[in-house]
Every structure is written in C-alpha cells, then in structure tokens.
C-alpha cells in the first residue's frame, strides 16, 4: 500500500447514504465491462442534493456531467458521521473509485460500506479523530499520510490526526480480501 495519498478534497456532510453515492437506477451497469463500468464513475455522488454537493458552498458536482467524462477532479472525500449508510451495494465504493477517488476520511462509517471498501480494495477508509467537515473546504490540496496517521491540508497548512487502521490494515495493505487470503495461504 502507498503510504501517502495526495489530491483535492471533496467535502460532504453526515449520513451520506449509498442511494446518494450511486442511486438505484444506476446499479444496472456491468462492473467488469471496461466501457460500461465507467458509468459508475460518471454517476458517483450524483444523488447528493445540490446544496450538499461540495461543502461549504455546495453546488459543486463531484464529476462534471460532460459528454464522455467519468473522472472526478477530487481524489479525497471528506465526510461526517455514518458515511455510507443504507444499502449493502458495493457499487458505492466502486463508483467512487471508478471516478478516481483514493481515500475517504469520515468521523465514522456504516459497517457494510467500510467493509466493502476494505475487502474490495477500492478506497482507504480512514477515521478522523475530530469533525473535519467544517474545517476543510472542497478543492483544498490535502494529503493523507497513512504511516503517521495524519491528514495535512496544504491549502490551510493545518494537520489533523487520523485513527489507526487497526485490524483491517493487513487487508488494506494486501489490496483486498482475496489478495490477503492468498498471502495468508487460505486460497
């Protein structure tokens, strides 16, 4: 696993559920077909109500809805409480990853979303030790230092603590549950 992830921040609020991350009408595309799967990137976070998209100002699309575009300008998502609640759809972390997101930093996660991030190897789900939604602005240049468990906002010059990844670190390091089980000799 890379020890540092740097990119632009995209800030969302509390209780961002999987219907907002990828609405049900979009769950139909193939996740393996190289062209069709891009649609997940295109529609990532499309269900978030306009005022909540890209805080603090809102009205910032995660992915510009222009012809053929499926990639976001933002690589690090900052969320509040209970990120990824709702359905068990793995399409949610998958869609964020397809759009180019690499990590999510939230206060805490809904269980299945967290598990899907880890086991699928899609995104690194970090937990902050404080509320960052009101601290960081969409577009800030941020860096996740996984070795030191810090989040650095290069735009404001501030640094925040992240919790240790703990039990799931070996699975994240391996790149997902399959890779982990292979390394451990289970498969």
């Amino acid at each position: 696993m890379q020890t540092s992830i740097r990119g632009k921040a995209y800030v969302l609020g509390d209780d961002i559920d999987t219907d907002q991350i990828i609405p049900a009408e979009h769950l139909i595309y193939s996740m393996t077909d190289p062209e069709e799967r891009k649609l997940y990137g295109k529609y990532a976070n499309i269900g978030v109500p306009a005022g909540q998209r890209g805080l603090p100002d809102g009205n910032i699309p995660f992915v510009e809805q222009t012809e053929g575009n499926s990639v976001s300008d933002y690589q690090i998502i900052i969320g509040g409480k209970n990120f990824g609640c709702g359905s068990s759809r793995e399409h949610a972390p998958f869609a964020l990853a397809e759009a180019g997101a690499k990590a999510v930093i939230a206060e805490f996660y809904a269980r299945i979303f967290y598990r899907n991030c880890v086991n699928g190897g899609f995104l690194v789900p970090c937990e902050a030790t404080q509320r960052l939604v009101d601290e960081i602005s969409t577009g800030d240049d941020v860096e996740v230092d996984l070795a030191a468990c810090k989040l650095i906002d290069h735009t404001t010059g501030k640094t925040y603590d992240l919790k240790e990844l703990g039990d799931v670190k070996p699975i994240i390091d391996a790149g997902g549950v399959f890779a982990y089980a292979k390394q451990a000799g289970m498969l």
Binding site: M31, T32, G47, S88, R89, E90, R115, N119, D167, V177
Partner: protein, 469 residues
C-alpha cells in the same frame, strides 16, 4: 465457568469451531446459506470468475440461493441482461435454488407480469422468499448481498448483508471473516395492541438510538411483547435493524418459529440457540407496548421520529404499501381491514412482497381465512377501496428504473410501509417519504394527510392462518 453469551456470540462461536466468541474479536466462520439477487449477483459472479478462474465451482451449489427481485418489471434491457447473467451462472454451477422470472426475456419491452401468482417460478422480494422457500433456520449463518438480509434474524439466526467481493469470496470458500459484535438489548413488555404493528416498535427503537446507534452492533429484541408478535411482524423488526446501522437483528426462538421452520425448511436439522441469562450487553432499553403510540419517520431519515398524531397537517400525495418491510400478508390484512368499505383519497399503490403473498391476497379474506365463494379477497377489498395492486417485487421501494410501478418520478409527499426515506430513495430527490406501519399508511390514504390509525382501529385485527405455514 464458561462466559455467558448472547445468541449472536454463540452462533458465531459455533460456526468458527470455538467455545467462545468475544465482542471485538475477528473470526473466520462457515456460512450456511449465501443469497444474492439481480442487482448484486452479476457483480458477484464477475468477481468470482475473475478471482477463482473461469472454470471455478461454487463451494456448495445447494447452499447458494439466487432470487431475482429488484428490477423485474421494467423495459430496461440492461436489467433483462442481468437476469440472463444469473440464469447462465445457475446452469453453469448447478445451483439448486433459483427462482426464475421466466417472463423476463432477453428482448425489448416491458415483461408481461405473471398471470397467476401460484403458477410462476418467480418469487418476489428475496427476504420474504427466503423463509417461504425453506432457507432459514435457527442457529444458522445467512449472508446476503443485500443490507436487509438481517430480516432473517427473526428466525433466531445470524444474518447480515455483505458486498459483492465478500459474497464472491464466500461463493468459492463457504467462509467469511466477521468481527464479533457487542449486543444491544431491546425489551418490549406487554402485548401488541390492535393499533400498533412491529413497524411502530422499530421506528421507536431507531428514533431512540439514531440511524447510527447500532453501528457495528447486534440488536437483540426480546420480551413478551416480541413473543406476542406474529413471525411476519418480527421480520419487520429485524428487517430494519440495518436502519440503525446494526450488523444483525435477532429474536428468540419460540413455538411460532419452530412450527414455521419445521413445515418449511429444506434441511431436516438445525440447532436452536438461546440467550444465556447474564449475557453482557453494551446497551439496554425497555418499552411498555401499552404506552407506545403510532409513529412515523419524517423525511429524510428513518430516525426522524414523530407521533403520527403530531403530523396531521402533513398533506400527502400518495400512499405505498409494499417491500420486504411492509408487503407481507399480515401487512396486507392490516391495511385491507382498515380500508374495508372506505375509499382512499390519494393514489395508493400496493405491491405484494412475494408471489406467495400475492396468492394469499387472492385466496384469503381479510380475517386471514380461506375465503368462501362469494366473499371478498384481500386484493378485492384493497381494489374496491381504490388501491392499485401491482406485481410482486421490490418495485418503488428503491426507486429503480423510471418505469417502475409506484416510483416517485416527481417531488411528491408519500407515506409508505417501506424502510428507507433518504433523499431519492423512492425516486425523486426532492420527494418526501414518511415511513409508517401499514395501519398508519392505510388510515392516511383515507384522509390524504398523516393520520393516527386509532381513528379507525379499536378491535384487534385477526390474521388467521396468514403468514403461518
């Protein structure tokens, strides 16, 4: 002396081949049944082949259950293709339990729904079909690629939702890793009064602890109040454990559970697990059913609890009765008994949770008994009151493609027996969904505003043999 354990801890320990399973511990367990459907099945199958190779075989074709239910009655051709992916996999793997919507063809246009619900292989919503088809048993572990898999905890088993990668892993190995959750205990005293259903109980719980109050935790529902519920109503309770973030919800096993499972299970043996007296809980709360009042969850969160009688100024555009939460036969009887002889004031959509529910709606009267020749069926009663009854499936519970029956394509206010009211869940992002019991939804359909069902219900509503064996 051995540590006192909760049902969830015992089940997990047994499936890990250990004497004990302590909250916080990560363990590998053997899975009894793995369920998937048309939304997550194709992705799961993709990962399965990617990881294990194209000739790989599932660990046990008699323990994999595939139930297409989400996007069935739509002209969307990608949805038809996804059903075909399931069929191909079932054939390739010799999967024993697959419930095919044979009327969905790989061709353009809206599939013609089944004519007779007793004459189709299609079952409808997976969480209702699982017990009906004998896939649930006390003491077992069920995984499903659907967050409401926790519904099965009503049968005294451990059941939880997983993603495609987890499901693909289990498909190949029969195993998964789980972190043993601490347990929250919710005790209900007294008997269920006629104006409440389990929906009111679970809205009370979620309103109390919030949509994240049970994150990473097990929710244990107990007390004589739970014993007084029908098995179907217990399913309503465990179904919405996920709406509080719960890993699983679980109820004690009693005679009602045993009668049902004995009559339905497709395996002869299982082991009933009981809660140890003195087991440890991370949270406890008690309610008296005599003092609980009919509730709603207002937009846009299942924990936005209010008394139905406080919301009478909320004007409604639509009512919806359906889903794995509120589309069971007892839910239909509740609604039909209240609506009997009246006319709904707002468009009211009814979607049977399964084809068995649909069949029962046609052969039973509103007391849940086989209807006499000239007596009205449940479906007839609902239709005479002005409801539109659609074919079984997930339908508008999760929005789905734009041509889905009952979908909120405009920013309407809808009162619904479903389980989620996050923005956009039933279709339109600005629609306002009020979650409530089938009684409250039916009462509100009659007035066009949120209505406390006590205005219509005073006598207990008989459910006869409905939802039993």
């Amino acid at each position: 002396m051995a540590r006192k354990m909760t049902m969830t801890e015992k089940i997990l320990a047994r499936h890990a081949g250990k004497a004990d399973a302590t909250p916080g511990e990560n363990i590998w367990v053997d899975v009894d049944v793995l369920m998937t459907h048309d939304v997550c099945g194709p992705g799961t199958i993709g990962i399965f082949h990617q990881q294990y190779g194209k000739d790989a075989k599932v660990w046990d074709p008699s323990r994999v259950v595939i139930i297409p239910d989400h996007y069935i009655f739509t002209a969307n051709e990608i949805c038809h293709r996804n059903v075909q992916i399931l069929r191909d996999f079932v054939r390739e793997q010799g999967i024993q339990y697959y419930y095919d919507p044979e009327f969905v063809k790989n061709e353009p246009g809206m599939p013609n729904p089944y004519r007779d619900p007793t004459k189709t292989n299609y079952k409808g919503v997976c969480h209702k079909a699982l017990p009906e088809e004998g896939h649930l048993r006390p003491g077992e572990i069920l995984l499903g690629t659907d967050s409401h898999t926790c519904t099965a905890g009503a049968f005294g088993q451990f059941a939880t939702g997983v993603g495609n990668t987890d499901a693909a892993f289990t498909l190949g190995t029969g195993k998964t890793w789980l972190k043993v959750p601490p347990t929250m205990k919710f005790t209900f005293h007294g008997q269920i009064p006629p104006y409440l259903t389990a929906k009111d109980l679970i809205l009370a719980v979620i309103g109390q602890i919030s949509v994240s109050g049970a994150t990473y935790k097990s929710m244990y529902f107990t007390g004589e109040g739970i014993g007084s519920l029908t098995l179907e109503d217990r399913m309503t309770l465990t179904n919405m454990a996920i709406e509080a973030g719960g890993k699983n919800g679980i109820c004690d096993v009693d005679q009602k559970t045993l009668d049902y499972v004995k009559a339905r299970s497709n395996r002869p043996e299982w082991e009933v697990v009981t809660e140890d007296e003195g087991a440890e809980y991370c949270y406890e709360h008690e309610w008296d059913l005599g003092t609980l009042e009919p509730l709603v969850a207002k937009p846009h969160s299942p924990d936005n609890k209010d008394l139905a009688r406080n919301c009478t100024d909320v004007k409604l555009d639509r009512a919806y009765i359906g889903s794995c939460t509120g589309g069971k036969i007892t839910d239909m009887i509740m609604a039909a008994s209240l609506l009997n002889g009246h006319n709904v004031k707002i468009p009211t959509f009814v979607v049977p949770g399964s084809t068995e529910v649909h069949a029962d709606m046609q052969r039973l009267n509103i007391r849940g008994e086989l209807k006499a020749g000239d007596e009205k069926s449940i479906q007839q009663t609902l239709e005479d009151a002005g409801c539109q009854v659609g074919p079984s499936g997930c339908a508008a519970c999760l929005g789905g493609p734009a041509d889905t029956f009952g979908r909120l394509n405009e920013p309407l206010n809808c009162i619904s027996t479903t389980n989620r009211n996050f923005p956009g869940r039933m279709g339109h992002k600005e629609a306002g969904v009020y979650l409530a019991s089938p009684l409250t939804v039916a009462a509100s359909a009659l007035t066009g505003h949120v209505t406390d069902p006590r205005e219509y219900v005073s006598e207990p509503i008989a459910t006869g043999t409905a939802g039993l064996v």
